[in-house]
Subunit: 729 residues, 2 copies
Amino acid sequence: MKLYCLLLMISLIFFPALPQAQHPITFFTKAEAAQVRNSIAKYPVSLSSFNELKKEVDTWINKDVDVPLPKDPAGGYTHEKHKANYMLMFNSGILYNLTGDGKYAALVKQLFLKYAKLNPTLPKHPEAVGSLAGHLFWQALNDANWLVYAGMAYDLIYNSLSPEERKTITDGAFKPEVDYLTKEVGNNWFNWIHNHGVWACAGVGIIGIATGNKDYVDMALYGSNKDGKGGLMAQMDGLFSPDGYYTEGPYYVRYAILPYYLFANALKNARPDLKVFQYRERILQKALLSGLQLTNLDGAFYPVNDALKEKDYTSNELITAVDVAWDVYGKDEGLLVVANKQNRILLNKGGISIAATIATTKNIPAYYPYEAVEYVDGVKGDEGGISVLRNGKGKNLTALIYKYTSHGLSHGHFDKLNINLYDKGNEILTDYGAVRFISIEQKFGGRYLPENKSYAAQTIAHNTLVVDEESHFNGNEGESGKHHSEKLFSSIDDPNVQVVAAQERNAYKDVQLERTVYLLQLPDGKKIVIDLFNATASKQTQFDLPFQYSGQLINTSFKYQPATKTQETLGKKNGYQFLWKEAEASVKDTIAQFTFLNNRTFYTISSLIEDSASLFFTRIGANDPNFNLRHEPAYIIRKKGEKEFFLNVIEIHGSFDPVSENASSSYSSINDIKLLENDEYTIAEITINKKKITIAKSNKIFDKNTKHTRKGISWIGPYTVLYDGKILK
Amino acid sequence: MKLYCLLLMISLIFFPALPQAQHPITFFTKAEAAQVRNSIAKYPVSLSSFNELKKEVDTWINKDVDVPLPKDPAGGYTHEKHKANYMLMFNSGILYNLTGDGKYAALVKQLFLKYAKLNPTLPKHPEAVGSLAGHLFWQALNDANWLVYAGMAYDLIYNSLSPEERKTITDGAFKPEVDYLTKEVGNNWFNWIHNHGVWACAGVGIIGIATGNKDYVDMALYGSNKDGKGGLMAQMDGLFSPDGYYTEGPYYVRYAILPYYLFANALKNARPDLKVFQYRERILQKALLSGLQLTNLDGAFYPVNDALKEKDYTSNELITAVDVAWDVYGKDEGLLVVANKQNRILLNKGGISIAATIATTKNIPAYYPYEAVEYVDGVKGDEGGISVLRNGKGKNLTALIYKYTSHGLSHGHFDKLNINLYDKGNEILTDYGAVRFISIEQKFGGRYLPENKSYAAQTIAHNTLVVDEESHFNGNEGESGKHHSEKLFSSIDDPNVQVVAAQERNAYKDVQLERTVYLLQLPDGKKIVIDLFNATASKQTQFDLPFQYSGQLINTSFKYQPATKTQETLGKKNGYQFLWKEAEASVKDTIAQFTFLNNRTFYTISSLIEDSASLFFTRIGANDPNFNLRHEPAYIIRKKGEKEFFLNVIEIHGSFDPVSENASSSYSSINDIKLLENDEYTIAEITINKKKITIAKSNKIFDKNTKHTRKGISWIGPYTVLYDGKILK
């Protein structure tokens, strides 16, 4: 990282800061615009994208567009209006270049002159919360959004403005905002290595390029003190692992990728010497592709950390990134799939090229080319990571996500060693996501709701172990931010046998957690997940392993006491206070089976219960006076002791078709589960359809070449899986 | 009805019973089969349908197919096997005719010979419940299903059988079943005017045609006593209104239409003199088309009475009916839309013709041509009815269903004057449907669950008035079956102003219920429902008006007390025992507003509260030890008095896009609601976006030509709606 920065600091000295003013240059160049103009009508998607843009903008031509005094939180009128205005200016600026019609430039100018009057007068936004206030919006972040698009809009109509108008806009609309964001927002916000900081530098940088202000561009590249501790280069270094995994998770890379790509795109024209798209071995390409691999079949980003689960890769941010990436990194089948689903392009060179490819490609695949993937976390790649075990073609994809990352900054959840299961595009073992109704004013102005921290971020809201009803790191972000889990070993190359083992030693004092998950496909096609969770404490401890599931309970192998007449909460704090206890059971020396139906497939969790355990059926909804939460169920296995072992088999089985009225294999095929050893080695036998799966793994030596022999089984490397006496592969 | 029967009895005497044995004749004729054979490969849908069928059947060729001793309930092995077997025999029979390959006939024969051995030995099914036991299946109904398909299968391979084989099958496989169904099943089952009876006569009739047994055919046409009190003709007379509305509702017409159409199709060839498809002014065509009009945008049948909400018009029954109807009634754009969604055809003349039309038609519409419709109920059309108010094109359709029918036989719900609202294909004000996991053995063998009667059929599970926490007719089917509601007036011709008024005088002793619903579209495009519910009792009474809604609560205009730490049920019986009370409020002299989000649209219920009311937020889930119910919410308005009036405005407003992060118009636009009069006339003013809607209607004179003048408003006919001082239209 340091070396990259140094080289760039040097390049800064030897190269001219900005080429001679030539406009436009931020979004596209004159030559690129001409090429786009000539191609729009040739392809359905470019034509519809252009027509849509034109229709939106044309409704405002010759109208007096409101630039209101900022007043409302997100979702409110003034917030939404300023948001709409920056997109309107940008889009109208594009149309000016593509049509040559002065009315589009006039519309943008009209708005800019209003902002030039308004912006110098603005105090902190009245709805601001905390230290990161904006001027035009309740948070500085949104002001940075405004700068990104307003900067491009200005550049796009630059040639239509008189020198006086340029000065008026530069001094009135931009300078107060840039000064505020770079100097005044508290806590060194501008240089914060975080998606906010990415937006901030992109906004200031694009304004800098558009107005020919070297100072702005330098701050945008190297931080407000130009020392490399902030700015684009530090953001490219500091937020991604070498694999391109973005530490906040895929939902937020979706958000950050837009300013990265737009600023990099502007720099490509204005500062080609920087080779930003090649920086750190194409880190921006890796960021995009890893973000896309971390989506579900429907394109929704996996809900790692704070995430709104509806958000998918058809969002504006991804249209931008995909269209730019297509141009700078070249054609890519995955991007084509995504662009085809987006069904809208950016009117630039990459967008047109995609539109042409869509028009001429027969049979664009229905799904992104998903693979089993693993990404390391941390700038150096040494802070744990995330694995996605995948099996199945097309719609029939099964994905098991195993998270053993670092905390993920301010949006991180307390869910070390969490798993989520997706099957056929459906969420099976779920993550709540974030508690937020984005942009709905009634719900706290569209901001994160209090239940986001008090429920969704807590450990019990996930599918990982909770000790003594406390969250990992006691729910302390600062503490969690200092640690990360560690992968012990993994193998994702054989689709029939995928395995990842990881451990967590810091989430609880004197408690060691170790989880190994397998995604297996048996020779008959059946898919199962085997989940081994070892918890070792130094004293008597309560361990809760929740399975948040999506579906309707079909049956259980055990008797339980349902709470039929009154309901109480499962606990009092750390997220437990939100859970109604719907039923509970005490079980002993058994295989406890819990079958549910999701959509048209059955799923059974078969749990080995040695000695005894309590089982709880819960549902979210208690202590939620504002009805902010969805009422989702969970199945929780509770064991007490010093050292406890959870062995669960999650089985995907059968089918249900309510239209043709057929159900098949609605019962589990698991006949038995036996634990033969769980010390230096873990060895277990699972009998399924009367055939035996044997899991054997070393718990101490994870070397790939070491030979092990135990209980009459010999194998090389940390693990082996036998099926019916033969190595499964 | 009587006249029809008489004419047919006469025709029976003068025409030969059955034409000379020519096979096949039930499913298609030899000539038709030849035509199908020559066309299959020409069209994508016929080819894929044929290949699919062939693939299914081919897996069983040269296999010893199991014909097990009946043992299991629905969902269990023997049930599913016999079900699969009759379809396999039928499909293999079709393939024999289309390919000429004897292996297909051999497969069917193999099975028939096993059934010929098994059937004579069968006692009542061990899983039978009540008096309507079957032999092969737990209920006689499923045995009738078997006869329908087995009868066609026999006919299809008739020519491949030796006379001895024919006799073996006729005597062994068929006779015991026919004898049992026509003579032994209790309660005069075979002649029951009900979907069971339709299946029974179709099964016996098709066997009769296939085996040349006039006695069977006569029983199938005129009942087991051949007196016209049962059989196909009585079923066509007795279950439909003159409009074709099927008294059990659209979910069950979907089920009954298959035997109607298959038997009628066989009779078209075997007894063309009967002109069954023309019978009762084409009642079978009306049945199909009215059934299709009673579906949602996604093709799912509206949940009137017992209904599984996943069931849609792509089901096998509708493929059969649509393909036969296309042939006998001619081309129809609506049927084409449905067939296109079905993406599968029956391999008969109609199916091939549809496949050809699909192949050559560009731009088949995405949705069935839905219209505002009204259907009367009752054989004579004088037993109330059902109205579907509709507004909007394509995906933007809004549908308000208002039910004022008779009870609907054994599957009827106690929901007089119930409404349901659909918008953009989503359920907004919902009906629970039925409590049943069809064909899932763990859930009571796939049968209706106890909660179907104890919850789903009860009044509180709907969107209509409950008096003193008792269901309509005290939940007594016999009593409810004697009565029906009455429409007072309606108008559905103007899409901007649709209105229906109906009354119910028998559901409760000494209580009169009258509900008038409007679906309005205002000049600015906004859609609202106005719901006026007058309840008049002779003594102090508690009235509950529930709104089962689908969505997330966004905000309310009033304060409420949420049940945050413990939860109790709303009541103890008649469905109330299943409702957790999540919150309650006391309100007085106000407009109470309740806003929720469904998918990407906001909905607000604005309620005029004169004097006082209690409001409850409930959720299903209490007293459900087996987790058979979905945990859905409701909003309930409770008023107490002798005469109470509920005036609710249900407003469709705004939009929410979580991908682009935009919310618009998330607040209600209702400013005020005033009731000016509610006696001889009801006159109310609703102020919306600062403009006034005036509702004026007579409560006594419903004549279309009478002129009324009240409160300075003059109008002709029972009602008028003014907007901003002008008549809305």
